[in-house]
Amino acid sequence: MFFHITLERNMQLHPRHFGRNLRENLIAKLMKDVEGTCSGRHGFVVAITGIENVGKGLIRDGTGFVTFPVKYRCVVFRPFKGQILEAVVTMVNKMGFFAEAGPVQIFVSNHLIPDDMEFQSGDMPNYTTSDGSVKIQKDSEVRLKLIGTRVDATEIFCIGTIKDDFLGVINDPTTA
């Protein structure tokens, strides 16, 4: 799920950045440091949308570095267990398939693919129903349910399932 939230961070700035462009430098560094990273609590920081407040700087003894508390607003993405998610299939093999939803990597094992879908190898590996009506292959769009999530410093891993009602292929690239 996406959320638009306010977060706070203590930014350390080297004295060479002080001067007229102090605020710009601070924001540029904040974007570089934060966008694209993950935290276990908030998920993946997609983009910073604004600065709410830059607090008073605190000079650190000895180094001359200054620490500013910065409050900023950002869009974050965090998957939850039980969440239904739409994702794009990136890889299909005999173990199951991998799918991606933005920064989230989801694995759907063949244990959690309906039993009537069978693996077909070849140059475009896929899972297909016996009547051939439903096919999952690279670039298919699928709706899946997350049964496990884990947020690391840089990546989000999820376990998904399509073995339930209303889950599975929502868009087949071959018929598009």
């Binding site: 996406f2 638009h4 306010t6 005999k94 694995f107 891993f157």
Partner: protein, 445 residues
């Protein structure tokens, strides 16, 4: 990363988020430091486990009167955790020990499978392969399918190659490539295109190299520009479970259905019977030098291996034989009893069937002859190796025409051949014409 305009922003207030999080995580610790997430989830996990234990106890009490309930609850409670992705079970999503099972990193980072699951997948694959009439083929890169050199290792005499490199826009029709971003040149072995095309009909193919991942992917692009052959089956040195070794433990295929092409026998100590040892393809001067050859490289001779009679063409014929033995001959034999290793052995044994070989001063005197590479090669080729000459002997192998046994061979009109006759026969899978491997005075030094 940008947000699409219609992305579902469910909440516009951080308070909503906080309350959602609190509900989700069900526990609240003092502040919002991100580091504590792990602990929180673990707490949650242990709670779940406790709850489940309680459920199991309840089930045990109810076992007499309600079997239906037991069935459903059991399913939920007992999961063998057959594998993990990102440290979570691939079936139930629970956190599991990070080091359990075998890492299948070449398929995806963070994916691990335990051995019962590997067995299950290999069984399922075998059924699939029998239906498709396909086996598995594992291909080494360097000196087997191609030869690469760093640009700074190239001699000035090889400079002509740089201007003769083929276009990377038309990989399918080229064989010599300049990869500037990797500071390398790569030459594909003659016949490799035809080889891959035909082998793909009979085998599911894997690349397995001691090179690193970026190199493996780059070479795969040269060998398979249409992306038809290898898919995600590209294994590099970081994906193995043992240093300096290649193993079938990370390959999702039954060992009885796998053939391996490699020029390095010692990389496959556990799977020698699956191996078709390849004669090394040295195109560049640096490659010859690396292996201690003083002869001129193909690049300096402006020459190349034969297209239609070279190593890959010979091996393709062997692959076809083994494949047809596996699928076409002896239909009484159940598929589960068939083993490519046995077929490979028997094909090899036919090659020098009936030959009786004596070696003359080929091995150091202190060396036990039966453990010498040439002796073993000859036996694998079906020949009988003897220590002393008698009239049943057909070949004397020597470096020097003037040894006692060499002269005996000449007098008795037996074949007198250079040791290379055995090597060439071994690598080309065909008894070589003896006259092409004479024992000359000049060669004895």
């Amino acid at each position: 990363m940008t947000i699409v305009s219609d992305s579902p922003v469910h909440s516009s207030s951080s308070d909503d988020f906080a309350s959602f999080l609190d509900a989700e995580l069900a526990t609240s610790t003092s502040d919002s430091s991100a580091d504590e997430e792990g602990d929180e989830e673990e707490n949650l996990e242990s709670k779940r486990v406790k709850r489940r234990k309680v459920e199991v106890l309840e089930i045990l009490e109810e076992v007499q009167d309600s079997t239906a309930r037991v069935e459903t609850s059991k399913e939920e409670a007992i999961c063998a955790h057959p594998g993990s992705f990102g440290g979570m079970c691939i079936i139930c999503g629970q956190r599991v020990a990070e080091e359990a099972g075998v890492a299948i990193a070449y398929i995806h980072k963070g994916l691990r499978l335990d051995s019962p699951e590997l067995v299950r997948l290999r069984n399922a694959d075998m059924k699939n392969k029998l239906n498709q009439k396909k086996l598995h083929l594992i291909l080494d890169l360097d000196h087997t399918l191609l030869n690469s050199t760093m640009l700074f290792h190239m001699t000035s005499e090889e400079d002509y190659l740089k201007s003769n490199a083929d276009s990377l826009q038309d990989i399918q029709n080229g064989s010599l490539f300049m990869l500037e971003h990797m500071r390398m040149m790569t030459k594909l072995r003659p016949y490799v295109r035809q080889f891959l095309k035909e082998a793909n009909e009979m085998f599911e193919m894997h690349i397995y190299t001691m090179g690193d991942k970026p190199y493996a992917r780059e070479m795969a692009k040269l060998l398979d520009p249409g992306d038809q052959y290898f898919n995600d089956r590209i294994i590099s040195r970081d994906d193995g479970t043992q240093k300096h070794q290649k193993g079938l433990d990370v390959v999702l295929a039954e060992e009885s259905a796998v053939l391996i092409l490699d020029d390095t026998e010692n990389a496959w100590t556990k799977h020698r019977e699956n191996l078709i040892l390849m004669e090394r393809y040295h195109f560049f001067a640096s490659s010859c030098q690396q292996f201690g050859f003083r002869c001129k490289s193909l690049s300096l001779l402006k020459s190349d291996e034969s297209d239609t009679d070279g190593a890959l063409a010979s091996v393709l014929r062997v692959l076809k034989r083994v494949h047809s033995m596996y699928f076409d001959e002896d239909p009484r034999d159940a598929p589960s009893n068939r083993d490519v290793r046995e077929f490979l052995k028997s094909v090899r044994k036919e090659i020098l069937q009936g030959c009786r070989i004596v070696f003359s001063r080929v091995f150091p005197t202190s060396f036990p002859p039966e453990s010498h590479q040439l002796w073993k090669m000859a036996e694998q080729l079906g020949a009988t190796c003897l220590v002393e000459v008698d009239l049943s002997v057909t070949h004397v192998v020597a470096n020097d025409p003037n040894t006692e046994k060499s002269r005996w061979a000449t007098n008795e009109t037996k074949y007198l051949v250079h040791p290379q006759w055995i090597e060439a026969t071994y690598y080309l899978w065909q008894r070589q014409v003896e006259d092409k491997y004479p024992v000359n005075q000049s060669k004895s030094q």
